[in-house]
Amino acid sequence: MRTSELIGCQVYDAEGQAVGTVHDLHFRLRVQPDGSQVCQLDALECGGIGLGHRLGYGEHAMSGPWPFPQLFRYLARRSLAVPWSQVTAVNRPRIAVSARRDQLRPARRAGK
């Protein structure tokens, strides 16, 4: 599987409601029982517009210049994180998840 097969897909929740478009993939490093390390796909970040995140405005390390932080944080406010464990089917361009839209957390960085 490649990232290009996931990024850009439409995500639909358990009730068939659209959650958003996948704009980024969230990874986490895990140490295996045998001591080796893997880089695991943790969640899909979905939302209307991924540009703000792309430019780095999801995080608070980005401070200026006016009006970009405000603008992009506003655009990214609906970004949601879909945990991979809740993904039930990937059929590009559709991804189905088992959770309901209102059960999903906001994408990690927007809230931090």
Partner: protein, 131 residues
């Protein structure tokens, strides 16, 4: 083992479109796509390789330009296999916010046909190309 500067990150933050630097400090391409593999049933996919070259770049670009690029890339491949150049994660030395360094010189990677063609057929034939 690969050294990661962060243990939680996103593809756009650290991986996609980053520059690859080989063990001698030479640019070795950009990360055009990532290869994820599901290790076993029910387990989440893990990163197994960085993908480079036109057949990885084309689909990411999308649209007609992407298809076109991919088609050229396929023509330039030595074999009919259209799978992009893979750099397995084991070859990655260090990943930080600036760049990705590799454990091997770029000559050991699957070479790009276009680079070879440019080196051997065009630039290499002009006097003074090797200083």
């Amino acid at each position: 083992m690969t050294r990661w500067d962060e243990d939680e990150f996103t593809a756009n933050d650290l991986l996609l479109d980053r520059e690859l630097i080989d063990s001698r400090g030479m640019p070795a391409g950009r990360v055009d796509d990532l290869e994820l593999t599901v290790p076993g049933p029910g387990e989440p996919p893990v990163l197994t390789a960085l993908l480079c070259g036109p057949t990885a770049f084309g689909p990411r670009l999308g649209g007609r330009l992407g298809t076109w690029w991919q088609a050229i890339g396929r023509r330039l491949r030595p074999v009919t296999d259209s799978y992009p150049n893979r750099i397995v994660v084991e070859l990655v030395d260090h990943v930080d916010r600036l760049e990705i360094t590799l454990l091997t010189p770029r000559e050991n990677l699957d070479s790009y046909r276009f680079r070879q063609w440019a080196e051997e057929k065009v630039i290499g034939r002009i006097p003074g190309s090797t200083k």
